[in-house]
Amino acid sequence: MLRTIGRRLLLLIPTLFGLTVLLFFWVRALPGGPAAALLGERATPEAIERINEAYGFNRPLPEQYITWLGRLLQGDFGNSIETRRPVLEEFANRFPATVELAVMALILAVGIGIPLGYWAARNHGRLLDHLSVTGSLIGITIPVFFLAFMLKWVFAVQLGWLPSTGRQSRGVDATHATNFYVLDGILTGELDAALNAIVHLLLPAIALATIPLAIIVRITRASVLEVVNADYVRTGRAKGVSKQVIRNRFVLRNAMLPVVTTIGLQAGLLISGAVLTETVFAFPGIGAFLADAIFARDFPVLQGFVLFIAVSYALINLLVDISYSFIDPRVRIQ
């Protein structure tokens, strides 16, 4: 087991190295550089030239790449051109917000998706099943930003039940130790602060959760349908195994394998999906920041953030693979 993990982590190194090359040249292939973005209407060729000179953007690309990589290996990701802060610091400040949002969305997607999918499968062919299939189809096709604006319009603007922006209300007395606001509230015993942070998470999390939720419903449903008709389930029933054992150990456990794979893939996608949701809800995570960085051609931020996201994506996938071996002993033997 440890060897597998070790091997996977080692494999990550060439992957990340390849990614640094791709990233570096990709961001520089974007038309219009950071100087033009920074200066706007004031961008004269001379001013752009002076800025490129000062920032070293006019040096040969391979030279720039080697300088960047050299610093990277020493843990220096450079500074954002827009905000002038170290990229690592910007990421560390914002990543907890995104993780909180992604976890909340995942809880919603899994917590609702699996029971709903199971339920639909058990009621195969009946109205409930049709409803859940149609519902999940809508969930997959509805554009996230449209849903996000609609949710806000209904629950924040019209009804005023939920906040429309931000992570926590002003005036809430909250200590921020880890920057995970919900966790901070629980750790410090400021439960009202934690609750307030959860309330702020609801709408963006619902918007972010719809697509994974819909996919999980469909996969769970299909997978359960396949398993309930398997020979071993029939044999179990014939042997008089209790309904509960059949459901939990025969059906669910076997049906969960493809679902876990899907959850793993979706968890990675949640982080990139956060770009839109965070922008709409002015939620100060990495997504909204990354969107700005693209418009500002903020090279150091683009390079650094995408690398960090790639690492977290790889780690999530590793976790999913490890969890396989708990669900399916056959994986362990291989």
Binding site: P86, W153, A156
Partner: protein, 557 residues
């Protein structure tokens, strides 16, 4: 009995619903209690916290290193300059300097300073402090002397210590309240330019203590100094409290402010970069106001009871001609396009309320505006005649460049503007070949290459000086316009050196006529930016040059 999955799910749903109710209850009660400023200066029934939705973080808290609107919006609350702005206009007015006297030859200015003014850290504001600020700007080197940081000083004052073109020579503190600034040559925009937030007075003690100019960092990108990140210290009505990047900037009322303190005891700039999200934040009561309301939103917001205000325009939107395109070198073609455009229709159809039709490249409040300038009225027949004279009776095809997915104060909706103009041009037989780009690519194409034809662009003025508009566009050959016109270039550089505002005004009136004759492009309109506020905001000091200090805001509840 083992609960069936169905029953469990129902129980779960019920639990979820209950939780939602509890949670929403929390947020409701918290809203009701509101956030009272804590200070007793305002009547107790007024919420003295003013929350404004900013479209981005400030680029820093030191305005000397900034050139963008969101940074200046924050710094205007904290800092004041020697020269301010007459409320509601673009005209310079006394602020920290009570008066000033230029020398005969216009190369030195003596400022009489307001006495008994303190910076937020207790440092007295005096002539020494004035000189410390001027000397600081002049002595910047390396990264601090590039456009990415000190855009305004570098471009207005001709450079830094050691540059041949440097405008600044020296500053002397004659006594506590008298400071003299010596220049190497006259500069007609000097006083007006000092109203820019970039030239606000900052506490020499605080700048020294927190290393204001230590913005080193790695070479690729400068880093904030401690001063610029957390210790901005000015003389203004608000004191810096905190900044959570991506979330908010908080300022508190300055209890020792020398002027009128006003009702607002706390300002929160909430960072919401999506325009629709800003509107929804206002509608849901999360913020009290926001800037640059989309033209399509103003009517709906007004109908819903929100206060929508227009600033007097201090902008220019133009259709520029690239004269490296052979067809555009013919002045008859340029005149024909000018006659083909119905600016009135453009303004009423697609530009925001309050927009004025443009006859020249500056708005009418600017010194140098020419009332009698040659105007090319809408006359499609004359346009066709001119085209025929130029040899294009069978039609003419031109590349038309415009940016997409961008909203600027002078150009809220480039796509709509493009559509309207191209159909007007079509009517006189000009076929346009549309070429659109994302904003930064667009700027790159306009300023860095000559690969463009007729194009949309514009400008938002910084301060009241024709040179700040026309001088930006036509002070020499540029890729955007692609023409050489020595007569115009030298007229502009001469006018820049006239010390007397009246003399300069007369010179600029002539220049505006000269430009109208040459038709380098068509000045289209002066769009007026709109702001929207919660009904409780009964008065807001809207200013054409965005000189809006929140101690002048009036709140009713």
């Amino acid at each position: 009995m083992i609960p069936s999955p169905k029953r469990r799910l129902l129980a779960g749903l019920a639990g979820g619903a209950a939780l939602t109710l509890v949670l929403t209850g929390c947020i409701q009660s918290e809203r009701d209690s509101g956030t009272d400023g804590g200070d007793t200066a305002a009547p107790s029934d007024v919420d003295s916290t003013f929350v404004f939705a900013a479209s981005s973080d400030p680029s820093g808290l030191d305005p000397a290193f900034a050139s963008d609107g969101e940074t200046f919006r924050v710094s205007r609350q904290i800092f004041e300059g020697l020269v301010g702005v007459e409320p509601g206009t673009a005209d310079p007015a006394p602020l920290l300097a009570e008066s000033w006297e230029p020398s005969e030859d216009g190369t030195s200015y003596t400022f009489t300073l307001k006495s008994d003014v303190m910076f937020h850290d207790g440092t007295p504001f005096d002539a020494e402090a004035v000189c410390a600020n001027f000397d600081r700007w002049y002595n910047w080197t390396g990264l601090t002397a590039t456009e990415s940081l000190s855009y305004y000083y570098g471009s207005l004052y001709g450079g830094f210590a050691g540059d041949d073109d440097a405008l600044y020579e020296s500053c002397t503190a004659d006594d506590e309240t008298t400071a003299t600034i010596n220049l190497t040559r006259p500069f007609s925009g000097f006083i007006a330019s000092l109203s820019l937030p970039a030239f606000a007075m900052q506490s020499p003690t605080a700048m020294e203590e927190y290393g204001a100019d230590e913005v080193g960092g790695s070479e690729e990108a400068p880093e904030y100094s401690e001063y610029g990140e957390a210790h901005p210290t000015g003389t203004g009505p608000f004191v810096f409290e905190s900044w959570s990047p991506g979330e908010e900037v908080v300022l508190a009322a300055n209890p020792d402010y020398w002027g009128e303190q006003g009702q607002v005891q706390e300002i929160v700039f909430r960072i919401i970069d999506d325009p629709t999200a800003r509107r929804q934040a206002l509608e849901s009561g999360d913020v009290d106001g926001y800037d640059l309301v989309a033209p399509a939103d103003t009517a709906a917001l007004e109908e819903a009871g929100f206060n929508v205000m227009q600033r007097d325009p201090f902008t220019i939107l133009y259709l520029g001609f690239n004269q490296t395109v052979p067809e555009l070198q013919d002045i008859r073609v340029r005149q024909a396009i000018a006659h083909a455009i119905d600016r009135e229709a453009l303004v009423t159809q697609v530009l925001p309320e309050g927009t004025e039709v443009a006859s020249q490249f500056i708005p009418d409040v600017v010194n140098g505006y020419n009332d009698g300038v040659t105007d090319y009225e809408y006359d499609p027949e004359r346009a066709q005649e001119l085209l025929a004279e130029a040899g294009f009776e069978d039609g003419l095809t031109l590349q038309f460049n415009y940016p997409v997915n961008i909203s600027r104060p002078y150009m809220p909706n480039p796509e709509d503007i493009f559509t309207t103009l191209s159909s007007q041009l079509q009517e006189v037989g000009i076929t346009v070949e549309p070429v659109s780009d994302e904003w930064t690519d667009y700027l790159d194409r306009m300023r860095g290459t000559d690969d463009h034809g007729i194009h949309l662009l514009g400008w938002t003025g910084d301060y009241n000086d024709t040179d700040n508009f026309v001088g930006v566009f036509f002070n020499g050959y540029s890729n955007e316009w692609g023409f050489e016109n020595e007569e115009l270039f030298s007229a502009l550089s001469e006018a820049r050196q006239l010390p007397d505002p009246e003399e300069a005004g007369a010179a600029y009136e002539e220049i505006n006529e000269q430009i109208a004759q040459f038709v380098p492009g068509v000045p289209l309109a002066h769009p007026a930016p709109s702001l929207a506020f919660d009904p409780r905001v009964t008065s807001y000091p809207a200013s054409p040059v965005n000189d809006e200090v929140f101690n002048m805001i009036e709140l009713s509840e």
